[in-house]
Symmetry: C2
Subunit: 372 residues, 2 copies
């Protein structure tokens, strides 16, 4: 635990060439990318045996800038700066921390807004389907290129938690520890339904134009509503009661409604509607259960230590869904632990409840030996 | 309890003249209606002492057709036909049941789509603000016109539950029993936020045109999304798991998503966007708490028996909010009972869990004596 604040890391985003015409990146559901990069950042140094790496997988709409101050953006702080840095939970004096932006996003990695080399125009509606498996395979190529020989830990919340689960299934011998946070083995029907509201809001915006809007007006209104609906799944009812209640913001608006409007208005400046759809689709279709919907036997190949973390008021990925993963792991004698953090902050507690999270994560990491 | 099915009531909707130029209907927040009717239906007969009337207040988007078969609409069944009729919970052999369509709606009562006598055009954006209090005052005028001298019971779920609470506060000596179901003394911040998603979807539809669209295209896409978001608050996560789970409906759609799309598509044929906004506004602003948000002392004037009913998985009006009403009633020595029905059906359980509801309601009604 940090006893005094260390100076912030000064960081820059870097780019890894994922695909080139002579080395395309094949996709799980068909097609390939013939060009394209992944944006990433690293914090700390890789040790000689290459076994002190920690991979951070971000949630739905975040970016590679997880820690420190981003020099190119007026020292903007990373979204998990509370967790990553010298003497923090992911201690950069000990670990080589890699944070990779997601394939299909719009934060420096190849996505629907990128230029399709075949047409010299943005992909738009022609961007291929991306899966969580594709995202993880791209991350594997990135960290392999950095000289990492095994991951001391892979972690992430929300979509990052899905990636973490995919990691332990796809690369069981490459990972020593995994911390899936606030995620699920497969999105519930309610989650799928909520996603549909966002999707319809984007698809029905007259500016969406089937996804080909880059030379025109963006579907701003639809995207704002999509974000409002999504944002509401990240925060809990008790949180909203505590922070907004029934406070007014003018005669015909409540403060909580104004907050949502502002959330939507801010989001359209920082996120692309096609990426919203591409990543939502990956999140919705991710499903590691067998054909009967059961997790029994699914984790047979898993060889690492696992720490599952849920938040008591997480509405989108409730603790009982993580409990199901835990039960399946335990039934296969995998070294797993499960913690539910009691909080009113809902799904977004992975960003706000960093003190409790730090304690649990630090304890877990110290049980994973490094060679050097 | 019914032991055998009685023949369905054959019913017709009737209309009560609420306002005329010489007798306008004044509104709580200013303005008045100079013309306009309330649609209503009645089932059973009023007794001589005029004390066997039961008033049914419907939820947000329902109508006056609560029971029996509506002759004018191919014998369409009423939305609470399971609860109202001969030997049913609201036994029409014993009670004179009145079901009134809400002021501000679009199901036969005056609302934004009605003709404004001043312009001979639909009110649209100029329709005045309506409150739950206005709705209840209009209902009072209706039932007074029918010769009712006191209500044996007033009941309703959701917005109808808010009306029921308003009734016991506004007309304490007119009501002998009240059954507020699945409602709240004031909508939570989460409820307000959910409402904002629906509202933004309507307001941002290019066809909405500030509310003046009656001679043009209706804001169908926005209204469909508004309904999708609202509908999702009426059903619970376990209900969706049980009925839809992760079943697919084609390669890129889950069955639960298709259900929501169909829900939206059906809704735009039966409901007006301006009424959606007018009624939502009334629901959101309804608040019987004092300035500090407390219910203590609020029910001091209440003189009737009260039965509160909540549903265990109601996401919009959770049992703990009804518990708060119950606690406030009990602290003032009011004859109140509180039942939470265990169900996976969420808020809409007031429509589906009618067997459990019937049992509780019948028991309650038999404790309210009639003079004749």
């Amino acid at each position: 635990m940090p006893t005094q604040e260390a100076p912030a890391l000064q960081v820059d985003t870097q780019y890894f060439t994922l695909a080139q015409p002579e080395h395309p990146f094949g996709l799980e559901n068909g097609g390939q990318l013939e060009n394209g990069s992944l944006a990433y950042e690293t914090y700390g140094e890789l040790n000689e045996s290459g076994d002190n790496a920690v991979l951070i997988c971000h949630g739905f709409t975040a970016d590679a800038h997880a820690a420190g101050e981003l020099v190119s953006e007026q020292n903007r702080r990373g979204w998990w700066d509370s967790m990553i840095g010298p003497r923090k939970a992911f201690d950069t004096n000990r670990y080589f921390v890699i944070s990779s932006n997601s394939l299909g996003g719009c934060k420096g990695s190849i996505g629907p807004a990128s230029i399709d080399p075949k047409t010299n125009k943005p992909y738009g509606s022609s961007f291929p389907e991306i899966t969580i498996g594709d995202m993880v395979r791209a991350q594997y190529k990135l960290i392999e290129s950095l000289g990492v020989r095994s991951l001391a830990c892979v972690t992430g919340a929300s979509m990052g938690g899905q990636q973490t689960l995919e990691w332990i299934l796809s690369y069981p011998n490459f990972v020593k520890g995994a911390i899936p946070i606030a995620c699920t083995a497969r999105l519930s029907a309610q989650g799928l339904a909520m996603g549909e509201i966002s999707r319809q809001a984007i698809l029905n915006d007259p500016n969406f134009n089937g996804g080909d809007y880059y030379d025109k007006q963006i579907p701003a209104k639809g995207l704002a509503i999509a974000r409002m609906a999504a944002h509401l799944t990240y925060i809990s009812s008790p949180y909203l009661d505590a922070h907004y209640g029934r406070q007014r913001s003018g005669a015909n608006l409540f403060a909580v409604q104004k907050m949502l409007q502002e959330e939507g208005a801010g989001f359209i400046k920082r996120f692309d509607a096609n990426s919203f759809l591409t990543l939502s689709n990956a999140i919705e279709k991710f499903d590691i259960a067998d054909e009967t919907g059961s997790l029994t036997g699914v984790f047979g190949s898993v060889a690492c230590k696992i720490l599952l973390i849920a938040f008591s008021t997480d509405f989108l990925f409730p603790p009982n869904e993580m409990q199901e993963i835990y039960d399946a792991l335990i039934s296969e004698n995998i070294d797993a632990a499960f913690e539910t953090i009691d909080t009113i902050d809902g799904h977004d507690a992975f960003l706000t409840d960093w003190k409790k999270l730090s304690e649990i994560v630090s304890r877990f990491l110290h049980e994973i030996p490094l060679r050097q």
